[in-house]
């Protein structure tokens, strides 16, 4: 008879346990039907929650895609005390909006989130009902402005901006691994598993006409991000990215960014992204293949001297500073200082004193 608490089982379902603990729980599951049923119920709950949040996000995305171009905030129009003041305010808002959308490639047109709330019934109807023909953001930018609305459109990023953004993904570990180690796929898989987690996959896609070329460890904020590159006969490389994030599994989601198609999904607490110049159907088949692949091999690493420091132990290089939007929180991170209001549990309570967000940079 075994006693396992919900605390442990939820951690198991969320992929938060160490490998040894996971194996111990799995051994119990093989012998105890009661625990196994409980774990199944928790997994089902986990999956339903993820699906529910994806459904909400799908609604938000379709709403934004169908939204009208952004009108300027009312405060700016009413506080026109001079060209200089308005200009400075506009520049500030522009910078903040640019920072808001930078790095995420999100639509160049922000919907009416900053617009004046609708006052007349007609305006309210327009606000509730999206246009019959959904307007893609890029099309909206090119369209002529509405008579009483101004458009705020960000210029396409320069190559310098794109390069700087890509550079933020580099870490010391990216360039400290000996190239000859790439020839040993098992070793590469083990090193990636050390950095990302034991459940990470380094799939063999030879049957799909894709040869594994190399892998490297990037970073996203303070988290390691593995990039595995595959090359087919003719096209540009296909990349599989893996990062530890969240828990459980979720179905693949297709996105198209220019010529690059991508499929993202979560599996065993690892978030994956498969990206390349491929059609959705091709990517779907590859994702299916990858999801059926076993995880990285569980073996001790051979001690090649060129591999020190190991991938997961490589120190961060202060010289390679990520962009402001993507760099990790520091010790003086305003979010960590508790400058937001006091934590509230299940029921918020009123408290005295004004609230403020993260503290300003001194």
């Amino acid at each position: 008879m075994t006693e396992l608490s919900d605390e442990l089982l939820v951690a198991y379902v969320d992929g938060q346990l160490a490998r040894a603990q996971t194996r111990a729980v799995e051994r119990v599951l093989e012998q105890d039907d009661v625990i196994a049923r409980r774990v199944d119920a928790l997994k089902q709950a986990h999956g339903r929650l993820e699906s529910a949040f994806e459904a909400i996000l799908a609604g938000e995305v379709s709403e934004v895609m169908a939204a009208q171009p952004m009108a300027p905030p009312p405060a700016l129009r009413s506080r026109g005390n001079g060209l200089v003041k308005v200009g400075l305010a506009t520049v500030g808002i522009g910078l903040a909006l640019a920072a808001l959308v930078a790095g995420y490639g999100w639509p160049l047109v922000v919907p009416d989130l900053l617009a004046t709330p609708p006052s007349s019934p007609q305006q309210q109807q327009q606000a509730v009902a999206p246009p019959l023909a959904p307007q893609r953001p890029q099309q909206a930018v090119a369209a002529p402005p509405a008579p009483q609305q101004q458009q705020v459109a960000a210029a396409p990023p320069t190559w310098q901006e794109q390069a700087a953004r890509a550079h933020a993904l580099l870490s010391r570990a990216t360039v400290e691994v000996g190239l000859e180690s790439q020839g040993n796929q098992d070793l590469v898989a083990f090193q990636i598993a050390q950095a990302i987690g034991p459940a990470v996959k380094l799939p063999d896609l030879k049957a799909q006409g894709l040869k594994f070329v190399r892998a490297q460890l990037l970073r996203y904020g303070d988290k390691p991000l593995a990039q595995m590159l595959y090359l087919g006969v003719a096209k540009d490389p296909l990349a599989l990215y893996a990062m530890r994030g969240g828990g459980g599994s979720s179905g693949p989601l297709f996105r198209q960014e220019g010529a690059i198609g991508s499929m993202s999904w979560r599996e065993d607490g690892i978030a994956y992204l498969l990206a390349g110049e491929e059609e959705e159907a091709v990517l779907s088949r590859l994702v299916e293949k990858i999801r059926n692949e076993p995880s990285a091999p569980d073996m001790p690493p051979p001690p090649p001297p060129r591999l020190e420091p190991q991938l997961s132990q490589a120190p961060a290089d202060p010289a390679i500073s990520p962009s402001a939007a993507e760099s990790p929180p520091t010790a003086s991170d305003p979010l960590a200082t508790g400058s937001t209001p006091a934590p509230q549990q299940a029921s918020p309570e009123p408290a005295a004193g004004p609230q403020s967000g993260p503290a300003p940079t001194p």
């Binding site: 008879m1 409980r38 089902q44 994806e54 828990g247 934590p343 509230q344 009123p350 940079t361």
Partner: protein, 174 residues
């Protein structure tokens, strides 16, 4: 990023229109107080924290914050995309709608955004242990609901103490 922020505001408030208004106010405040943004902070974490902070601050101004924090079933169900081919999970929607806003937000940040417990705790100004505790409570509660059609114990620990079920144990005790 904007739909993610909008989803967070909607789930926090439990209402689409109110969520949009909250996000509008939060963005305006962020734009006005952008000097408070500290370089090195991931922008999405900062934005989520600002939205949550503003929501909590405004909630404290109400005479009855507990009542204000409750979401109606119909308003919450409107958050879900119900387009062509989209399956609406009424059970999960109802479950989420009846959770306190902080628990809903915790579930969203961890299961929807993929944040780890520390990041979620920073956004919601809570400790990682609090985040973990909320996840356990909510997951176990939803698992109980899912298993209510087929009898499933509320806790595996209880079940193993009473292998044939608590009811059977009570009968024998009598």
């Amino acid at each position: 990023m904007l739909p993610r922020l909008k989803r967070f505001a909607d789930v926090l408030v439990g209402d689409k229109a109110e969520g949009k208004a909250l996000l509008r106010r939060a963005l305006m405040r962020m734009l006005a107080d952008q000097h408070r943004y500290q370089r090195g902070t991931p922008l999405d974490r900062w934005a989520f924290a600002e939205i949550y902070g503003l929501w909590l601050h405004e909630l404290r101004d109400h005479a009855d914050p507990l009542r204000q924090a409750k979401a109606s079933d119909t308003d919450f169900e409107r958050l879900f995309h119900q387009g062509q081919g989209a399956d609406f999970d009424a059970l999960t929607a109802g479950f989420l709608g009846h959770l306190p806003p902080q628990q809903r937000s915790t579930l969203l940040l961890v299961y929807g955004e993929g944040f780890d417990h520390e990041d979620a705790g920073r956004v919601l100004d809570s400790s990682p242990d609090t985040i973990a505790a909320r996840l356990i409570r909510a997951s176990a509660s939803l698992a109980d609901r899912l298993g209510s059609s087929a009898p499933t114990p509320a806790s595996a620990t209880i079940e193993t103490l009473f292998p044939k079920g608590p009811q059977d144990h009570n009968d024998r005790a009598q």
